[in-house]
Amino acid sequence: MAYNTKVGSLDAYEKGSIELADDLRKYAFSNIYEVAGKSAPFERVAVVQNLEYVAETVRIEGDSPWYAAPHDEFALVMDGEVTFRFVKLADDQVPGHEGGAVRLGGVPNGPNMGRVTARRGHQVLLPKGAAYQMSAAKPAVAIVQTRDGPETVKRWSEICTLA
């Protein structure tokens, strides 16, 4: 038997359903393609919140600002092709805040570490001690596993199915 695996994209996705005799806010049901479709480029919109940890949906279109975090982050590309560029930070350049990505004021002045080009299904390490920039020639979508931070955008009432 031949199988047809269904994946989603910005242009074509089908959202599921939630039918519960319960307060739907408890389940915070959303869809990353729907969220990215309504986001500005590089808004990092929380779709998962686990106390101090989040996963952010990011619409990648053009070149992002440069970001860094005081811990590892991980990006899973879910649509399109994304290039991640990395610059090594000196120890005193590594952000000292509690967690999450922070936007840098410009291109960091450390040495170029290289780049990773990733497509749907590819998971990329955004390592502690490195700044990174995300770029895509066409709109792309990624989920970033990180901590709740200054760049995390929360608009749960807009993104979640509540009725």
């Binding site: 031949a2 199988y3 047809n4 695996t5 269904k6 994946v7 989603g8 996705y13 959202k15 599921g16 359903s17 939630i18 039918e19 519960l20 005799a21 319960d22 307060d23 806010r25 408890k26 389940y27 915070a28 049901f29 959303s30 869809n31 990353i32 729907e34 779709v47 998962v48 919140q49 686990n50 106390l51 101090e52 940890y53 811990h71 991980f74 899973l76 879910m78 990395f86 090594k88 967690g99 040495p111 170029n112 570490m113 290289g114 780049r115 990773v116 080009t117 990733a118 299904g121 590819h122 998971q123 990329v124 390490l125 390592p127 490195a130 596993q145 990180t146 901590r147 749960w156 009432s157």
Partner: protein, 329 residues
């Protein structure tokens, strides 16, 4: 309650089926050709053998996982991270009302040894409860030949990220994991990693979908990426989750491909609350006050995000933390 340290004991072998029966504390376990029978001082319960073995082997492999693992609505385990409850009817309104419920607490290693002993004796060659039903033989019938290979596998836990030096490898042909038939229609390529001299090994990326597509187990997660206590687990799901999971904390599901239907019920009473159908790209929290069971008509890919902070279960149990994750303001 003090944990019972008495270990599992064989109580006899059925001359017709060839299967051995066991006692662990006040629980007795017997199997016949079709069913597992669990009895305790105040009652007994029957579970279809395929479901029983699929649940038991996963419970071992998960290290009893987070919180409650219901083999069905009546029998299961609760993980207290060092000790494990075995319960029957303790989270069923009817059993509770009639006083038929039973619960005993054991050191985790005692339950692990017991479940391994039972599984080893009750699983025959040709049947692999970790595989999808379409990919393995039948567990039914009398005892034939015990399996000699590992019953538990597939739980590869990365401490930072899969595939890094010193971490578990990403699945590949070389590790003996071909692409599963259900994902043969996908094309798998690799991310391009271009390191500048001096930074070799510091940049890393994997094809996570390829890793999931090569799993030879179902409903059996592997940790792929960890930041702090945030754990990314991925798993391939086909047919039905052979347990009903009641978490002791909030967890999150991200549907990566295809769809899973989740039946949701109250954790303490088992009272149904309804259904969630998750399709590719959907994200949904599983609150800490429910039990859930998934049904995946076609093999699908699921990402689970857990918070592994030690002691979190006590903060939820005490009411310090709400049993749902998002504050809508």
């Amino acid at each position: 309650m003090d944990a019972i340290t008495t270990r599992i004991a064989a109580t006899g072998t059925d001359p017709d089926t060839g299967y051995t029966s066991y006692r662990l504390g006040g629980f007795e376990f017997t199997r016949d050709e079709y069913f597992a029978h669990v009895s305790w001082p105040k009652g007994s319960h029957i579970i279809e053998i395929d479901r029983f073995l699929r649940a038991m082997v996963r419970d071992i492999g998960w290290g009893f996982f987070y919180g409650w693992i219901f083999f069905d609505d009546i029998f299961g385990t609760t993980n207290h991270y060092g000790t494990v409850d075995l319960f029957a009817g303790a989270y069923d309104a009817g059993y509770k009302a009639k006083g038929l419920d039973h619960l005993e607490t054991f050191p985790a290693e005692v339950v692990k040894e017991a479940f391994e002993t039972i599984s080893q004796n009750w699983i025959n060659e040709g049947y692999d409860p970790l595989r999808a039903p379409l990919e393995t033989g039948s567990p039914l019938g009398p005892k034939t030949v015990e399996r000699t290979d590992e019953l538990v596998r597939g739980f590869a836990a990365a401490s930072r990220m899969l595939g890094l030096e010193g971490e578990p490898p990403v699945r590949s042909d070389a590790t003996g994991h071909p692409i599963n038939r259900a994902f043969a229609d996908l094309e798998f390529d690799r991310p391009e990693i271009e390191c500048e001299p001096g930074f070799e090994g510091q940049l890393h990326a994997i094809n996570l979908f390829d890793h999931i597509a090569r799993a030879d187990v179902t409903w059996n997660p592997s940790f792929t990426a960890v930041t702090g206590a945030s754990i990314c687990c991925v798993t391939s799901e086909e047919h039905m989750l052979p347990v009903i999971h009641g978490n002791d904390r909030n967890e999150w599901f991200v549907q990566l491909t295809d769809e899973i239907h989740w039946q949701i019920a109250d954790k303490n009473s088992g009272q149904p609350r309804g259904t969630i159908v998750m399709k590719a790209g959907d994200v949904c929290a599983m609150p800490a006050d429910i039990r859930h069971q998934g049904f995946s008509p076609k093999r699908s890919m699921l990402m689970v995000l857990e918070n592994g902070t030690p002691g979190l279960e006590k903060r939820y149990a005490s009411g310090e933390l709400k049993p749902y994750p998002v504050d809508f303001g």
